[in-house]
Every structure is written in C-alpha cells, then in structure tokens.
C-alpha cells in the first residue's frame, strides 16, 4: 500500500516541496513588508554552497551538530545576500525587479555561488553527513501516514514549525500587523509611528535567511552534494516566487502549493520508473507551476478578489516620507 503511486507521490512531494516551502515563506515575509525579491534563486544557491561547506569543513562535534551548523551558515550567507538587495531597494530606492534579477545573476549559478563552491573545492565530494528520516522504522511503515508524515527528514518538521510561526506572527501579533501595514500603506504606517525602513530591512533579510535554509535543504538532504552551476536547486527559487502568488500571500496556503508543486516534480521520474508513458511528462510537470500561477494571477486581478486575495498594495514601491 505504501508503494501505491499516490502515496509515493505525496511522500516525495512533501520531501521535494520542503525547499519550496522554506523559500516561499521567506519571500512571503519580504513581500508582506512591500519588498519584492526576485533574487530567491541566487540566495538559495548561496545558501546551498555555504551550508554544504560549513557541514563539510567546520567539523566540530557530531553529525547533528555539523548539520545544524550547516543550516545556520546557509541562513546567514543568504541573509547577507538579501541585505544587498535590501540596501539597494529600501535605502537607495532602486527598482525592485531590476535589483532582484541582478541579485540572482550575481549570486546564482554562473556567479558567486559557483565561484565559492569552486574556490572552496566542494565539487565531487560525498557529504560527510546528511539529514535522514529519523523516526522509528515501525512508524515509517505505518500505512499511508508512515511514508508521508513519519518518513521525513527533520527539515520537513522544521518547515512545519516555521509555517505555524510565520502565520501566527503575521496574523496574530502586533509586529505582524505592523509588517502588513508597511506592505499595504507605508504612509499610514509611518504616520502611526511604525518604522517603515526598519521593518522592510528586517523582513527582507530574514526572508533571505529562509531562502538559505531552502538551498541547504537541497545540499544537505535531497541531493547531499554540491555541483557547479544552478542544477542543484533547479529553478526552485522561481517556483517559490510563483508559489507566493499561488498561495495568495498566506503562509498556510504555501504548504498546499509547495507540496502540490513538489509532487509534480516527482511525477515524471516516478511514472518513468513504473514504465507508464504519458508523452513528454516532464515538459508539462515542469510547466505546471508557472501555468497554475498564471491562472491564479488572472483570478486575483479580478476586481473584488484583488482586495481580498491580491498582493500587498505597496508591493514593489519604494517609500519616502513626503516633504517637498
């Protein structure tokens, strides 16, 4: 039963969807504060390479410690990358789209991350440690819920904690209300004494840290290695950006989208393994996240829906207090 196609798809959807989930939570935090960061792909790659490096080279203590250290370093490195974007678009009020694209090129597969990986000699090394499913195998073998819920790595459970934390923070706390006001109406927020610049910096940088963890999920769990170029994260950063739209800027819906898109990624290889031929499966499973996002974009630009489900009103616009 645990080898039925649907169960396998959902289980691997959860595994493959986890980096999407981390990255989209981070992007969501930044966008809720009004900062669009298209550099997710680049930040993920920086996180992936630095996380892998820390785990391989900073061997202190046990495997668990070095893996956690890897995550922390990945988060920090990507946060620093995000800070560049933050400085450009918040302080210097540069165009957010241009800056984000530049960040992906600068930090991405043909840029900083590949340079770092090559310079640190990380290619073609087997990982010392990696995140494994760790719950008792009896639990993992339970029908259906075993592989889907209990057969996952600690990173999956960490992502669930993050979803709850981000959702609670945004919707149920005062700082969360402040973030949302900054993303919706920075002028109103400023008039009420909320520091627009500070909130935007913090959430852009924390968003970057999430992208770093997402990248490390690849290099420390899904494909525990480092390879030059951008094949490691396979456009996940772009899917994560689409996912934020797909989820109507709501953390809880990011889970649904991430696992749905994750399952799609698993679909083509799984069908191949079972000798099912549905034509160029990979083509349409790869295209699906973007096609679904286009559909959602059309839906949310509908007049009434835009108010309820649409993007934060000030997304992408720099803020300056008017004094002429």
């Amino acid at each position: 039963m645990n080898h039925a196609l649907l169960v396998v798809l959902i289980a691997s959807g959860v595994a493959y969807g986890t980096p999407l989930l981390f990255a989209s939570l981070g992007e969501l935090l930044a966008e809720r504060s009004g900062v669009l960061n298209l550099g997710v792909e680049g930040m993920m790659l920086v996180g992936a390479v630095m996380g892998f490096w820390a785990e391989q080279r900073l061997t202190i203590g046990s495997g668990a410690v070095s893996l956690i250290l890897g995550l922390v370093v990945a988060a920090f490195a990507a946060a620093v990358t995000a800070a560049i974007h933050a400085f450009l678009v918040i302080t210097l009020r540069a165009n957010q789209i241009v800056s984000g694209l530049a960040l992906t090129i600068f930090a991405g597969g043909i840029g900083l991350s590949s340079y770092l990986g090559t310079d640190l000699n990380l290619a073609d090394q087997p990982a010392n440690h990696q995140f494994h499913a760790f719950l008792p195998s009896a639990m993992q073998n339970w029908p259906i819920v075993g592989p889907i819920v209990f057969g996952q790595t600690p990173l999956v459970y960490l992502s669930w904690v993050c979803v709850i934390a981000v959702a609670y923070y945004l919707m149920r706390t005062r700082p969360g209300l402040n973030v949302r006001s900054v993303g919706e109406a920075p002028g109103a927020a400023d008039a009420m004494g909320i520091n627009v610049v500070k909130y935007r910096y913090v959430h852009t940088i924390v968003g970057g840290a999430f992208a770093g963890v997402a990248g490390a999920t690849f290099s420390l769990a899904i494909t525990p290695q480092w390879v030059a170029g951008d094949s490691l994260v396979q456009n996940s950063g772009w899917i994560a950006i689409a996912l934020v739209i797909f989820a109507f800027w709501r953390p809880e819906l990011c889970v649904v989208g991430a696992y749905f898109f994750g399952s799609l990624q698993a679909l083509a290889p799984e069908l191949q393994a079972r000798n099912v031929n549905l034509g160029p499966t990979e083509l349409w499973t790869n295209a699906m996240p973007y096609a679904a996002t286009v559909v959602v974009l059309v839906l949310v630009s509908w007049r009434g829906a835009a108010r309820r489900l649409g993007a934060p009103a000030a997304l992408g616009t720099p803020y300056a207090r008017e004094e002429h």
Partner: protein
C-alpha cells in the same frame, strides 16, 4: 491659556514661503477655523502642528510648554491628531485593526493581537460621538464618509486633545457635513480643541467659535465668528487688494458663439458632482470664468465638453459644429488645458518636442514615419515663443518645472486653428512669473478671437481675466455679477445671492 500656540512660524519650500511668521492659538473647548484660499498656507501650518513638517523658524507650545515634533507620531503622543484630506488608513485592515495600529496606550500594546478587545470601545466611542461604523468592517468596504469617521475615531481612540481636520467636508454630502459639525461640537464640549481647515465661508460660520483668516502664507486676522458675517470673511479671505484690479475691457463681446453647451448632463463618481442640464455659451474673443470650490463638477464639465467623459444627455457645439468625442472636438477647433498637468497634459517620459506635436503630428507625417526634423523645428519655435526653460527639444517633459510643462501644453493647444479653449485651473501651483505668462497667453488668445472657458478656484485670476463669471456648485451653474467678489464667494459656498 491656549491649548496649542504657534509663535512666528516660518516654513519655506524651494521658491515659496508657505508660512511667513505665523502666530496662531487655539484654546480648550473651541472650534477654531483656519480659512483661506488654496495655497494660503493652511495645510502647511497644520502639517507643522501635527509633526509632519518641521518649521524653519518659530515655536510650538502645548499648554504653555514648548514642544518639538520630529514625526507625526510625536504629535499623536502629545495629543495632536490630524485627519488628512487623503485618509491615512490601511484599506485591507478592519476598522479595529486600523485603530490599534501603532497604539502605545490601549489594548493594541500587547504582543498578541486582539482587535476584538477594541471592538466594544469603538462601538461606544461611535455612539457617544455619533460616528457609527462597524468595527469589524474592512476599510475598503466603507464609503468615504465612513472612512472619515474612522479617522476621527482613531484620533479619539488616541485621546487627542487637539484634533485638526483638513478640508473635512470636501468629501462629504451636505447631510454628512451637518452630522460632522454636531460631532465636532460634542468633541469640544469636553474641553478638547478642534482646528477646522476650510475655504467654505458658510461652513466656517456654522461650526467655528473663532476664525483665523490666512492669505499668502500670512495670518490676516483672527476674529470671533459671531462678530463676522460671510461677506466680511469672504473679503478678508480674498483680500481687499482685489478691488483695485482693472477689468480687461468693458462692454459685452459681440463675436459669434464658438462654444455652445446645451442641456449637458454627465455622471460622476459622486452624486453631488454629476452635471445636470448645464447650459453655457462662450463668444469669440470672450473669457468666461467658472468659479467654484474644487470638486463641484468643474472637472466633469471640462471633460464632458472635451469628449473625455461620456455624456448622458445634451449637446456641445464648437464653432457651430456639433461634436462628440475627443477627436471631433479637436478637429472642430477645441483646445483643452487639463487640470492634471502631469497626468493628462503631457506624456512625462516623452521629449518636449514630441509633447508639442502630440496632437498635430499627423499633419506632417511621411507615411507611417514621424518627421523628426519638422518636430524639432516646431519645438524650437515653441521654446522661443513660450519662453520654455529646457535643455532643448529633446528634454523629457516630466523633468521640467510645472510652469514649463504648462507652457508646453499651451504651445500644443494653441497650435492650429483654435476656436475655443478650455483652461482648467491653468495656474494652480505655478510661481508668479509662470502665472503671468499663462495669463498673457490666455488674454492674447482671446484678443485673437478665441473663446476661452476658464475654470478656476482662484478669484484673483477670475477677476483679472474674465468677461463673465459663472459659479459652479454641486453640478449646477449660476451666473454671478462680474465685479462682486462677495456675491461670487457666497455662491461658491452654495448660498444664494440677491443683487
């Protein structure tokens, strides 16, 4: 002792002195009106009181103690709250969420968000001050009047002692305005202070205890409202100097009718500004001014004539030809200087040359191609003739000053066979020399036999230029006596005038 007192406030912006040595005070329990025309410095003064701007000179005292606000938040904390003309609300939040945003005193202080905790408080405040609004409704679902109530509730929730309202009735229906006045009376009855900014005399008369009249950045006078009548206030606001302005010419103009509007009706976003059955005619060589407070249907009238706004009824004739639509109106000889200079007057990212040719490029087109040389030549002529200050014909229109942008618009609209011209607030926000140029060109046009329909809020301008004056109030036009400022003022405020 005055609750709030300003001494010697001066605020300069590049090229203008918005406030020039202003002394002002308001005491507990009074509604104090700030009366003045657009650009008189009322809004700047209120922004200084609320902490949005910092004065270049002068001091602010609250209860006799000097204060210095670095931001609106400092003002709020000290008890000075402002209700802006453009509301500062988060549309997607509920009313309750908007109230606790940035709250430093009440239920909003806790880390955990409990908008429910203020719901009862909002209801009670609403009942007490006649500001009914559903605390759980989202702001975007509310009418403009309701949003204003939310802003006032926000101030009351913040325990404001000084409440400043900037043109609060501009967005209200007359009934809503009456209710607002009752609310304001109740607020001051508790010993708070209300500063009420307006340029409508009858409102000031209806709601205030004292009134400070401002003109050109200075305080003209502060009087007890009960001691002043509407005529006096109008004279003070507009300025006595006006009475010496010379009429351009005497006698009636005897040209053909170049612009004729019959029974024109058009919808607006707001019922009070919809046009209903408007008649009007402008003769060749005549300047007809439409006076009125902004937002009484002037914009709708201009757009309906120019063909930018669908008519529900009526007809427009230009030079005897019945026209409908932008192209038809242009072809018949109508020029249009729109109120929104940067948004509608020019394409800001195109060059000066292209903007000058926006309406006439077809005449010089070579097949599908523009003739850049011709365009350049015309632009150079325009720069010389209209004294446009720019790098050259290639300068982007959006980078120029307001006055120079307006000159581009004039150059474009005056080209070709102009029969009639609509000029909507053509000098708003311009400096003195640019105003002079614009006025000179409007007078020149009239002398050449163009019929000019001048829409303006500036009475000085109207009296200096117009042959006839019509006043627009809530979508209706009334003929006003040409030389009687007081009569015009009363009509602008919605009063009636018996000569």
């Amino acid at each position: 002792m005055a609750t709030i007192e300003l001494r010697g406030i001066t605020k300069r912006f590049p090229g203008v002195v918005a406030n020039d040595g202003v002394d002002f005070n308001a005491t507990a329990g009074e509604v104090h009106a700030l009366l003045g025309e657009n650009g008189a410095g009322k809004s700047t003064l209120s922004h200084i009181m609320s902490g949005l701007y910092r004065p270049d000179e002068g001091e602010i005292y609250l209860d006799g103690k000097p204060v210095s606000f670095q931001s609106p938040r400092d003002g709020i904390d000290a008890g000075v709250c402002m209700v802006h003309q453009h509301f500062r609300l988060v549309d997607r939040f509920t009313v309750a969420e908007n109230l606790i945003l940035g709250d430093r005193r009440g239920a909003g202080r806790s880390f955990k968000l409990r908008p429910g905790a203020v719901v009862d408080q909002v209801r009670k405040l609403g009942e007490r001050y006649r500001l009914p609004v559903d605390p759980r409704a989202r702001v975007w679902q509310l009418s403009v009047g309701e949003r204003q109530r939310v802003e006032i509730l926000k101030a009351l929730y913040e325990e404001a002692r000084v409440l400043i309202l900037d043109e609060p009735t501009a967005v209200l229906t007359p009934d809503e305005a009456t209710t607002l006045f009752e609310t304001l009376r109740e607020i001051v009855a508790e010993g708070r202070t209300v500063i009420f900014i307006s340029h409508k005399m009858n409102e000031v008369k209806a709601v205030s205890d004292r009134v400070t009249i401002m003109r050109a950045g200075r305080v003209v006078e502060t009087v007890k409202t009960a001691d002043a009548d509407v005529k006096q206030l109008a004279a003070l606001m507009v300025g006595r100097a006006l009475e010496t302005v010379q009429r351009r010419r005497t006698g009636t103009v005897e040209g053909d009718v170049v612009l004729e509007v019959k029974g024109l009706s058009a919808d607006s976003y707001r019922a009070t500004t919809s046009l209903e059955n408007v008649d009007l005619s402008v003769h060749a060589g005549e300047i007809v001014a439409i006076a009125g407070v902004a937002g009484n249907g002037q914009l709708e009238l201009a757009e309906a004539i120019a063909g930018l706004r669908p008519r529900t009824n009526g007809a427009v004739k230009i030079d005897g030809r019945s026209v409908d639509g932008v192209r038809a109106a242009h072809n018949a000889g109508l020029g249009y200087v729109p109120e929104d200079r940067l948004g509608m007057g020019v394409a800001p990212n195109l060059s000066l040359a292209m903007n000058v040719e926006l309406k006439s490029y077809r005449e010089g087109q070579a097949g599908p191609f523009l003739r850049m040389g011709r365009m350049r030549g015309l632009a150079e002529q325009a720069i010389e003739r209209y004294e446009i200050k720019a790098r050259g014909p290639e300068a982007e229109a959006g980078t120029l000053s307001g006055g120079n942008i307006q000159k581009i618009v004039l150059a474009r609209e005056f080209a070709g066979k102009l029969k009639a011209l609509i000029a909507a607030s053509p000098t708003r926000g311009l400096d003195v020399s640019a105003v002079e140029t614009v006025h000179k060109h409007l007078l020149d046009a009239a002398d050449r036999g163009v019929g000019v329909l001048l829409i303006s809020e500036d009475l000085d301008e109207i009296l200096a230029l117009a042959d006839r004056v019509l006043v627009m109030y809530e979508g209706h036009l009334t003929e006003a006596p040409r030389d009687d400022i007081e009569a015009i003022g009363v009509l602008m405020a919605g009063g009636s005038w018996e000569a």
